[in-house]
């Protein structure tokens, strides 16, 4: 079970990072009842034990009591490509939102994720995206007081 072993080792690694970080906290001055490293060490120890037990399970027949879904679930054909589209949409919105504003960036995300889920008409998706995000933009900024980057960005 290489994937499961990797997860177990990953958890052990997180535990090690926690412990290493805690060992390098700056010293505290004065009377300290429970230093800042005590609780992180405890979490690290807890995760370390859990991670090692997971490695043990992974090596001896795999994780116990996985749900029925786990057995029957198959990677969907085109699933990886779809997930790439969704991821690309999210990366795109993160990189672009401060330049092209919320409405355009979110519409782009809408079209990319729709594509990822199998839609094949990008122009229509983009149009639906804009038709959806414009009223949302208005509702959230004017109605609910959430500030979002405007359509035309701030430095123009």
């Amino acid at each position: 079970m290489p994937a499961q072993l990797a997860i177990g080792l990953g958890i052990v690694a997180i535990s090690a990072v926690l412990a290493f970080g805690a060992s390098r906290f700056p010293a505290e001055m004065g009377f300290v009842i429970m230093a800042a490293y005590v609780y992180p060490y405890a979490v690290a120890a807890f995760l370390g034990v859990v991670g090692l037990l997971m490695c043990y399970q992974a090596l001896t027949g795999g994780f116990r009591n996985l749900s029925d879904d786990h057995e029957t679930t198959q990677a969907q054909p085109g699933g990886k490509l779809g997930a790439t589209w969704v991821t690309a949409g999210l990366v795109g919105v993160a990189l672009l939102i401060s330049y092209i504003g919320f409405v355009l960036a979110a519409s782009l995300l809408f079209a990319c994720s729709a594509r990822g889920f199998g839609s094949r008409s990008p122009v229509r998706d983009l149009a639906i995206g804009i038709a959806l995000t414009l009223p949302i933009y208005w509702l959230f900024t004017a109605g609910l007081g959430v500030s979002l980057p405007p359509l035309v960005n701030a430095w123009i």
Partner: protein, 502 residues
């Protein structure tokens, strides 16, 4: 008398037009997201948390409570008509209700679920009205040692009892505790695990983690592993329940409520255990065991009525520890706690004294919300079903757009959006390998609280750890925690498999 007059004041405030409007919006939204697969109450409330900046606490909390309740109502509609549970706590409903629908009895199944939810919700709210002040008074006597012990109990129940594997539950909890560690330590002022990233000094927002796991993670998982649902929808039939239906439903509703409420109100998290318990109780007590799914029958109405009532009662019950102790027992309750904290309100025994009016208005709004939901759900069920026609690409794309608003709206940070994406991919792994999600959310919120209480407890005892053994209440709670660790073992032995509720 004291409770009654407080409640009357609460009703006065809750019936104000503006609060009625928030309640109505909440119920509407809640039902919609309950009906829609792939979006649950935890995510919805998380996405709406930014409104706490503008809307007054009473209105916002009334709306969030409406969403919480509404999702339970809406979830049953999807389970009965589609056989894909809209919420995982309506899994039993999907089993029995879908069978009824297949045999032309969709209407009565929907009716018994909705009326049962109303009856259970109302009775549970009465119980909440009576018990919450008592628990709050009791909790006033708790010191830090007791609180720490209760937090440990909550950690254990949330991660060990839910889900299929105690070990994976603990792993999720550990991840949550780790996320909670990031940021400034409130006592020493040391920045912990911020890796020189300025965005991490304030810690990671619970909204970001919830949105990453529930919206981005779900969407990615769904595109990677789930086929487009083509399962036929069952036809709606008349909602009319026959005399026999009523006679069989009423006792099931009452039993379901009595099972659900206590399970919700102890920190045992989730509506899974009570719904399963109610289902097996009904099967045992029914005069028509042949109708149940297990005997390949046509679907027994008790099997829908009882679990649906238990489901709703436990949702209400979980407000007891949230309001009186400040301890959430489910992901949604954890997000509700975050909503309180956004207003600088700390749920706990003092809340009843410092913000009594708010609490009682909220409780009153629960009575009103249940009535609104019954009216919204039964006659309009045909309308709700139409929501299921939204094409899958647009539904998921829309959820992701809202996720972006929720996360970016907080502080306009590109870093946050990348973090959300990373957490989403981690969520895919967790889902794939059957890790529960609720312990992550609960752990990251309660972890810092546990550390603080532990520090306070040790300050009082002057560094003596024996305080957790010598203080009777703290010690018995810790013993209880050890006993809880045996529960999953017993459940497995009886062949009961649980999945978490998000």
């Amino acid at each position: 008398m004291d409770i009654l007059s407080s409640l009357a004041t609460g009703f006065g405030a809750a019936l104000a037009p503006i609060n009625l409007m928030w309640g109505f919006i909440g119920c509407l939204l809640g039902t919609a997201i309950g009906v829609l697969p792939g979006i649950g109450p935890a995510l919805t409330v998380a996405l709406l948390l930014p409104i706490t900046a503008k809307v007054d606490p009473t209105g916002a909390l009334i709306m969030f409570a409406g969403i919480y309740y509404g999702a339970q109502f809406g979830g049953s509609t999807t389970s009965i008509l589609l056989n894909t549970p809209g919420e995982s706590s309506s899994m039993v409903t999907a089993l029995e209700g879908n069978l009824m629908a297949r045999n032309g009895r969709a209407g009565p199944a929907l009716a018994t679920a909705a009326i049962g939810s109303f009856v259970a919700g109302t009775i549970a709210t009465i119980l909440l009205t009576l018990f919450a002040p008592l628990v709050a008074t009791l909790a006033l006597k708790f010191g830090p040692a007791e609180y720490f012990a209760i937090l440990v109990l909550a950690f254990t129940t949330v991660s060990a009892v839910l889900g299929a594997s105690m070990l994976r539950g603990f792993a999720s909890l550990g991840i949550g505790l780790t996320i909670g560690l990031i940021g400034l330590d409130s006592t020493s002022g040391i920045a912990r695990y911020t890796m020189e990233v300025p965005e991490l000094v304030d810690g990671i927002e619970v909204v970001l983690v919830a949105v990453g796991l529930f919206a981005v993670g779900e969407a990615l998982y769904s595109v990677l592993y789930q086929k487009e649902e083509t399962s036929a929808r069952h036809r709606l039939t008349s909602l009319w329940m026959t005399r026999a239906d009523w006679k069989r439903s009423v006792p099931a509703w009452l039993r379901g409520t009595l099972i659900g409420f206590p399970f919700g109100s102890i920190p045992a998290g989730g509506a899974e255990i009570p719904t399963f318990l109610s289902y097996s109780t009904e099967r045992k007590l029914s005069k028509y065991p042949k109708e149940f799914a297990a005997s390949k029958g046509e679907g027994a109405i008790e099997g829908v009525a009882g679990p649906e009532a238990a489901n709703n009662a436990s949702a209400t019950g979980s407000l007891v520890p949230l309001l009186t102790l400040g301890i959430p027992t489910s992901a949604t309750a954890a997000i509700l706690l975050a909503a309180f904290q956004n207003y600088n309100l700390q749920p706990g025994p003092l809340l009843f004294q410092t913000s009594g009016e708010l609490v009682w208005t909220l409780v009153a709004s629960l009575y009103i919300g249940n009535a609104i939901l019954l009216v919204l759900n039964l006659p309009l069920v045909g309308l709700w079903v139409k929501l299921l026609q939204i094409p899958r690409p647009y539904l998921n794309a829309g959820i992701l757009v809202f996720a972006t608003i929720g996360v970016y709206g907080m502080r306009h940070s590109t870093f946050d959006l990348f973090l959300m994406l990373a957490i989403g991919w981690a969520g895919v792994l967790m889902r794939r390998f059957d890790f529960p999600v609720a312990p992550v959310i609960v752990g990251m919120l309660l972890g810092p609280m546990a550390e603080k209480q532990l520090r306070n407890a040790l300050s009082i005892s002057q560094g003596d750890w024996m305080i957790f053994v010598t203080q009777p209440i703290a010690a018995s709670v810790l013993v209880l925690t050890l006993l809880v660790l045996l529960v999953p073992y017993l459940l497995h032995k009886r062949g009961i498999k649980l999945h978490e509720d998000d």
